[in-house]
């Protein structure tokens, strides 16, 4: 879940400024400006979540989405989250629970100044898309208490057996018709316009095609992208306010062209510390990144020549690379299937199958799990995922622990040591003579 602005290098001159980076920065900044101006301009604002987001539906009502997870991770990257979390804990929120929630509550208590320094407007509606994360439900119960505004609840059943059942789709569509759309109509003062939604979904599908081509470019050697650290930038517009928009389509067109050019030139990824010169290790990563030390974390990989060729985190807002596309011919059904298929809404067996396929399809040398304290939806079962993948593929896995936005849980020396040790093990394995 990212809409971070493009990587900021220490030595700006060393880093190629791609057009897509400039575009994304402009889009994100523009969105926060729109949010700040919304109350004055009479625009209505809907707070919602990344997994299972209904961006096209919101924009069909001219509603502006605001995503508290993204505000939290942006606050983490800008070193603001520590104070926010402590503020929330002072107000009685447990040290044991999700730090996204506490960062958001803390930000609210300190004036609701967003990560770009602009005031965030209060919500006119809380669209609780309960997709793949129990905490979402309690998060918006807490926000409702703070804001006293209406809530539209969308319950998305969990795909424990890895299949989308027709009655699950029916259930979600019925909720859209009877709960979500009426509340969007009420808040926006507009009638539901299915043709407008369909237009938007068609734009989504075009951008999704290009995003998939970008993600799958990592199958090339060397990979032109880092599909984890770089990947969070690539998914930014798609997972936030720009799915189903012309700006989104343009962004992914430009990005795809840039990446395809890098493939032609056999170039590695661009990182904040400069282009990756030599690809020594190709890795698959499971779990969200740490945001408070994001650049330092990325540099640990960069220094070792480790490139992430596929990641599960970049699928929390949709598994487009497995074939899903928003379908304007079946607008509400398509939104339902989108919600059902988000990564954290999948049962553990499906997650293991997906990661196994990534290891195989992307020619990875190894896989790392970054287990974050805050997120039980991701973290519970990761040690079993590690065992299962090792058993199925014979590839050894690495395991590191950190947190999303609580700087107290990023132990730099310990994590660096683990990454280096893990990569040394891969190197030894690579050099060992093949077993007869």
């Amino acid at each position: 879940m990212s809409t971070a602005s493009a990587p900021k290098p220490d030595r700006a001159a060393d880093v190629q400024k791609e057009e897509s980076m400039r575009l994304q920065k402009q889009m994100i900044a523009g969105h926060y400006e729109d949010l700040e101006r919304a109350p004055a301009e009479g625009r209505k604002v809907v707070y919602t979540f990344v997994p299972g987001n209904l961006t096209e539906l919101l924009s069909s009502f001219d509603l502006l989405p605001n995503l508290p997870e993204i505000n939290a991770l942006q606050s983490g990257m800008r070193k603001l989250s520590g104070d926010y979390i402590q503020e929330a804990e002072k107000q009685g929120h447990s040290e044991d629970v999700c730090t996204y929630v506490k960062c958001d509550i803390g930000m609210l208590k300190k004036g609701n100044i967003g990560p770009t320094g602009r005031k965030l407007p209060p919500p006119d509606l809380l669209l609780l898309s309960y997709t793949g994360c129990f905490t979402f439900m309690k998060w918006f119960e807490l926000l409702r208490h703070e804001y006293d505004c209406p809530v539209a609840m969308l319950h998305v059943p969990y795909q424990s057996d890895g299949r989308i059942h027709p009655h699950h789709v029916d259930y979600i569509v019925q909720q859209l018709r009877t709960e979500v759309i009426p509340k969007l109509e009420q808040v926006s003062g507009r009638r539901y316009d299915e043709a407008r939604l369909q237009d938007s979904l068609a734009l989504s599908a075009r951008a999704e095609d290009d995003l998939v081509r970008v993600l799958e470019s990592a199958k090339a050697r060397p990979s032109p992208i880092d599909a984890y650290f770089g990947g969070v930038y690539y998914i930014g517009p798609m997972f936030s306010a720009f799915r189903g928009t012309r700006e989104g389509v343009e962004y992914y067109r430009v990005l795809r062209a840039e990446i395809e050019e890098r493939v032609r030139q056999r170039l590695g990824p661009i990182t904040p510390d400069g282009p990756m010169a030599e690809e020594r290790y190709r890795l698959v990563v499971e779990g969200p990144p740490n945001w408070t030390s994001f650049r330092e974390f990325w540099k640990m990989f960069y220094d070792e020549g480790a490139v992430v060729v596929a990641s599960s985190y970049t699928k929390v807002g949709g598994l487009y690379d497995r074939g899903f596309r928003h379908d304007p011919a079946r607008p509400l059904e398509s939104l339902a299937e989108y919600c059902l298929g988000c990564y954290t809404n999948l049962g553990l067996p499906s997650r293991v199958d997906l990661l196994e396929a990534y290891l195989r399809d992307y020619g990875a040398d190894g896989f790392l799990i970054n287990s974050v304290k805050s997120c039980n939806s991701f973290s519970v079962g990761q040690l079993l995922i590690l065992r299962q993948l090792e058993e199925r593929t014979g590839v050894p896995g690495g395991f590191i622990e950190s947190d999303l936005v609580d700087p107290r849980y990023f132990s730099s020396g310990n994590i660096k040591n683990r990454i280096e040790s893990y990569l040394q093990m891969l190197e030894q394995k690579r050099r060992a003579p093949a077993q007869p």
Binding site: Q91, G92, H93, S94, D96, V97, C98, V101, L128, Y130, C133, F134, T135, M137, K138, W139, E141, L142, R144, H145, V151, M153, H155, P157, Y158, S160, H167, H168, D170, Y171, Q174, Q175, T178, E179, G347, L348, P349, R351, V352, S371, K373, N376, S377, S379, V380, G381, Q382, L383, L384, Q388, E401
Partner: protein
């Protein structure tokens, strides 16, 4: 303690200590072909299991009576204790008597545990029970009906015979009687907490996780009767409190005893909430699956795992305090329990608005040291008694 009551308590204690499910094995051995289905906290439609002629078995971890040897290797340090002891029980073959497992919708830990189960035990029946969070009969109700029908079909296949409407009505009646007995016990405790101390009542509730429902109802009725005759149990000057947060990972028995010794009579709680999830009787007339659906939508307790948009949980808690004449609330939640800990600020705010005193601490099912809890609970009890006298 009189012999009659002592025998009942001893029986309940034996069931509490039965981590190996010897009771379940004995039940299965009594008749060829019998099967048992386990479930984790909190709500599953046990009527469907019973109607298939199978035994619903509630699993509540290993408490403080199980050494964790393998379970810790599956979970990071920041995850609650219940899943690690549950995995330990399974890997040490203590759950082999179970023919299937249900994982209720309560939090992401239990949800993901269902997937771990499917990976670790691919030959056993496992199902995640995803209850509706939409309470419109035409929407959430229609979805829940389909889920229940699927469960009914699954249990019919497991049992080797279809689950008929008549069998389901019979099971609904059986559980109505069981829930009535539990409600009576809670009301009796609220009136006379010294006759039904929670550390003892809890053992009788726990028995419902292993016994067939009819047998459990008989045991509850016998306890209600016998404890009332216990003349050496006298009213004491203790404060009356409501306990909140114990609906999933269970506290060690020593913790409940500690609260009583610290001067607290527990007059309401959310222990073993699944056994009394439905507040009223489920109707016996008409379509039994529809009746179960409707009961879930309209008769479910206000629980942390349910979507509560309008501050229902806070109202429920304040109402419980008032209905039971409680003087304060103790938030007593397991470490790392998302549902309990995330909602605590909302509940404390509701109590503050109502002027109700509260305190809070955390536990783990294997907590063995209670000195700090005793001191905190004792101080709380003393302070609210002073306030109430003022």
């Amino acid at each position: 303690m009189r012999a009659e009551l002592a025998a009942l308590v001893q029986r309940a204690q034996q069931l509490y200590d039965d981590l190996d499910l010897a009771t379940v094995r004995a039940w299965k051995d009594a008749e060829p072909g019998r099967k048992a289905v386990g479930y984790l906290p909190i709500y599953v439609p046990r009527e469907l299991i019973d109607a298939a002629g199978m035994l619903p078995v509630g699993l509540l971890g290993g408490g403080d009576r199980l050494e964790i040897i393998r379970g810790d290797a599956y979970f990071q340090s920041y995850i609650c204790h219940l899943p690690r002891s549950t995995i330990e029980l399974a890997l040490s073959h203590r759950l082999d008597a179970l023919d299937g497992m249900l994982f209720p919708s309560i939090c992401d830990v239990i949800r993901n545990l269902s997937g771990m189960w499917a990976l670790l035990f691919p030959d056993r029946y496992v199902r995640y029970v995803d209850v509706p969070q939409n309470y419109d009969p035409q929407v959430g109700g229609a979805y829940w009906r389909r889920e229940l029908e699927q469960l009914r079909d699954d249990f019919g296949r497991m049992a080797g015979r279809p689950v008929t409407d008549d069998a389901l009505r019979q099971s609904i009646e059986t559980y109505n009687l069981n829930r009535r007995a539990i409600r009576d016990l809670y009301e009796a405790r609220s009136r006379h907490p010294w006759l039904y101390p929670t550390s003892e009542l809890y053992l009788f509730l726990r028995a419902g996780c292993l016994l067939p429902p009819q047998e459990h109802t008989q045991l509850l009725r016998a306890y209600l009767q016998q404890a009332a005759r216990e003349s050496d149990r006298r009213e004491q000057d203790q404060s009356r409190v409501v306990l909140v947060g114990m609906f999933c990972e269970q506290p060690p028995l020593g913790l409940l005893l500690t609260l009583e010794r610290a001067g607290c009579w527990v007059v309401d709680d959310d222990l073993l909430l699944g056994l009394r999830w439905l507040r009223g009787d489920v109707p016996l007339d008409g379509d039994p699956v529809d009746n179960l659906v409707q009961a879930f939508l309209s008769e479910s307790v206000a629980a942390a795992s349910r979507y509560e948009p309008e501050g229902e949980r806070g109202r429920w808690l304040v109402e419980s305090v008032r209905r039971n004449g409680a003087e304060g609330v103790i938030f007593c939640a397991p470490s790392f329990c998302d549902p309990a800990l995330l909602e605590q600020p909302l509940l404390t705010a509701a109590l503050d608005r109502a002027g109700i005193a509260h305190t809070q601490f955390k536990y783990s099912e294997d907590t063995g040291q209670f000195a700090v809890i005793r001191e905190q609970a004792g101080t709380f009890s003393d302070s609210i008694r002073l306030w109430s006298e003022a």
